[in-house]
């Protein structure tokens, strides 16, 4: 053999090893290179002695040792078999992998290193290849299992190359233990599955936007919340799609800051769902970076806090009201005393000036102002005080009957009729009779004020369900002019009034009391042209035996 051939042999083997290390795309190439290397090696070893040149022989001997050393000390396992599968050569790495000594494997069938089913089938594989030439592993490489001496299995990458030498075939196997890699891949897969199922099941929005704010992905929770499927909006601008129009510019700025690595923590920015609803979302966002450290997008996790915020708002509102209520209750006694002293002094003054009509007129005006102040004060107090209900089973008919009677003075000199159109319906509900008496007084006061000198006020009722419980729906309807158009949305707001007299608290108090009973007060349409207010009153625990309020249930004297 030409001396110049040796470096090529070494190069081919080196290429084979290198390719194998790079794995897996280069396994086939590696195997081919290895085949070339082996073939050359084989030829060299057979032919070298015939050259008969001492120097050359020594040189060849040296190279052979070198190659032998490389093979034996290679990090990967290498072994060769003949056409029958008998192991001819095995390196130390392979012995370590399979935990055998060299003499335990050389000369044995290679199937001893394989677990079933390849253990039983390998002789057949070889025969099939020798007969048909159909390659199933040679030059291809695949992931298989090896069997150690102690019977345990381990995953390995196998590349096989074939060398034909003087009509005889030799097969070389390159073996790499991939236990660690498989384990790492498995761990990675588990991590990925875990992350994926987290994203899938999270009861929070998980959203990824690209650096331009376009939607990359979001999770099923977001699909349910927003009503959009990801495939319908992927690639679209987030802010144009989901931000309320008034907010789009501002949230885009926040997004820009997040891209500059300023994390968002709990910023609340609403989204608009497909059906036009706004949901309040608290966002936590983080910049995603690529391998070069460039901002690749923003990962945002959003919590729907709509209900929470509403509850907080309600709590705040009721705390505020409770505070005002306490304050006003605290003021109550002294204010009433002051009003009383004014009243007493006014009456005494009138006695003193009884013969002076002009002075008496002024006194009467002071009296009117004092009365208005007292009424205003009382309405504010009754709106702001904490509601403590004492429920009893009451017939609503009786409660509104009493309220109607209380207002006899207001109707004096006018012909206003109350038409009860609720005949036959059971109107027993668990309510606070005092509070509900006020509800009816307020509704009737408004209705009476709306009617002219002649008027009708109708009460209608029907049985209904509210929030899944039996309820009564009452409608109080007058034939006055109705609310001026455009005011419908504000009628339950405190201090909203369409009258020249009055505090504008009447309907706010009605709503507050009905709400406290778990019911609902709303504007509706009725048979008469004027205002129609609808009260939904849950019947409460047991519409059984009616217990009427006693005569002294605490109503203030008329």
């Amino acid at each position: 053999m030409d001396r110049a051939a040796w470096p090529w042999i070494l190069l081919a083997l080196a290429v084979a090893c290198a390719a194998f290390f790079v794995h897996p795309p280069f396994v086939a190439a590696g195997a081919c290179a290895a085949a070339v290397g082996f073939a050359a090696l084989w030829v060299a070893s057979r032919r070298a002695p015939r050259v008969g040149d001492d120097t050359l022989r020594r040189s060849e001997e040296r190279y052979r040792k070198l190659v032998d050393g490389i093979l034996r000390s290679a990090v990967d396992g290498i072994l060769t078999i003949d056409e029958r599968g008998t192991i001819e050569m095995v390196n130390e790495a392979a012995l370590r992998l399979f935990q055998y000594r060299e003499d335990e494997v050389v000369g044995k069938n290679v199937k001893m290193l394989m677990p079933p089913p390849h253990h039983e089938l390998h002789d057949g594989y070889l025969r099939h290849y020798l007969e048909t030439g159909e390659r199933r592993i040679i030059g291809i490489g695949r992931e298989v299992e090896g069997r150690r001496k102690d019977g345990t299995h381990f995953p390995l990458d196998l590349a096989v190359s074939e060398v034909v030498l003087e009509g005889r075939r030799v097969f070389a196997g390159f073996i790499r233990d991939i236990t660690a890699r498989k384990k790492a891949a498995e761990e990675l897969r588990q991590e990925r599955d875990f992350a994926e199922s987290l994203i899938e099941t999270a009861q929070a929005i998980v959203l990824v936007l690209d650096p331009n704010g376009r939607i990359v992905r979001f999770n099923p929770y977001m699909e349910r919340l927003s009503g959009y499927r990801l495939e319908d909006v992927v690639g679209k601008d987030w802010f144009a799609t989901f931000a309320p129009r008034r907010d789009a510019g501002r949230t885009r700025q926040v997004f820009g800051r997040t891209l500059e690595d300023r994390e968002a923590r709990g910023n609340i920015n609403p989204i608009v769902t497909k059906d036009g609803q706004e949901r309040e979302i608290a966002w936590w966002a983080k910049t995603l970076r690529d391998a070069e450290g460039r901002a690749a997008g923003v990962l945002s996790v959003g919590q729907d806090v709509t209900e929470l915020r509403a509850a907080q708002e309600k709590l705040l509102q009721s705390e505020r009201l409770a505070g005002i209520g306490q304050m006003i209750t605290g003021l109550a006694h002294e204010s009433r005393n002051a009003l009383q002293r004014m009243q007493a002094c006014l009456e005494m003054l009138e006695m003193e000036i009884g013969d002076r009509p002009q002075a008496l007129d002024y006194a009467k005006r002071i009296q009117a102002a004092q009365e208005y102040l007292g009424q205003l004060y009382e309405e504010v107090r009754s709106y702001a005080r904490p509601i403590q209900l004492e429920r009893r089973t009451c017939d609503l008919r009786r409660l509104w009957g009493a309220a109607w009677t209380d207002l006899a003075l207001r109707r004096e000199g006018r012909s206003i009729e109350l038409e009860d159109q609720t005949e036959g319906l059971d109107l027993h509900c668990d309510v606070d009779p005092f509070a509900f008496g006020q509800v009816f007084r307020n509704l009737f006061e408004n209705a009476i004020a709306a009617c002219g000198d002649e008027g009708r006020i109708a009460i209608l009722a029907r049985a209904a369900e509210y929030d899944g419980t039996p309820a009564v729906v009452l409608v109080v309807n007058d034939d006055g002019p109705g609310f001026p158009p455009g005011h419908e949305g504000r009628i339950f707001q405190p201090f909203f009034t369409t009258k020249t007299q009055g505090t504008g608290l009447g309907l706010a108090i009605v709503r507050r009391i009905v709400d406290a009973h778990g019911g609902r007060a709303a504007l509706t349409k009725g048979p008469l042209p004027g205002v129609a207010l609808e009260l939904t009153v849950p019947r409460g625990a047991s519409p059984g035996q009616p217990v009427e309020p006693s005569a002294k249930s605490g109503a203030p004297p008329a």
């Binding site: 109550a332 006694h333 009383q340 009456e347 005494m348 006695m351 004297p557």
Partner: protein
């Protein structure tokens, strides 16, 4: 007022204006003011001495409130009571109700209110 029995009335209020008011208004309504107290304890003491036909009392007063005073007076002899107070909470109303007061007026009370209530008492 004609035909209505003339009542001998004791009043209690810590406001001087109110004491003066009762002093002027009750005779006009045909009744006699027989005792004026500015505290609960004073009312108890005076009622022992003058044995009035009716009591008009405030609730909140120094040393003893009006309802406590009524309880003590009632323990010695029955007497109808009209309450005139700034308290409108359920607890005070309930206490007054338990004492079976003849009327519970929330301040500011007017001459007409008193006239009606006293007429009812005088007619008993």
């Amino acid at each position: 007022m004609t035909g209505v029995r003339r009542l001998r009335i004791a009043v209690a209020d810590d406001e001087p204006d109110m004491r003066e008011y009762f002093g002027r208004i009750l005779p006009l309504l045909g009744h006699e003011l027989v005792a004026v107290a500015s505290s609960g304890a004073g009312l108890v003491e005076m009622c022992r001495r003058v044995a009035p036909d009716a009591i008009i009392t405030d609730i909140k007063m120094p040393d003893m409130d009006g309802l406590d005073a009524v309880e003590r007076i009632r323990a010695e002899r029955p007497v109808p009571v009209i309450v005139v107070t700034g308290y409108q909470d359920r607890a005070h109303r309930a206490r007054a109700h338990d004492l079976d007061v003849a009327a519970y007026f929330l301040k500011p009370v007017k001459r007409a209110d008193l006239e009606q209530a006293l007429a009812r008492l005088a007619g008993r």
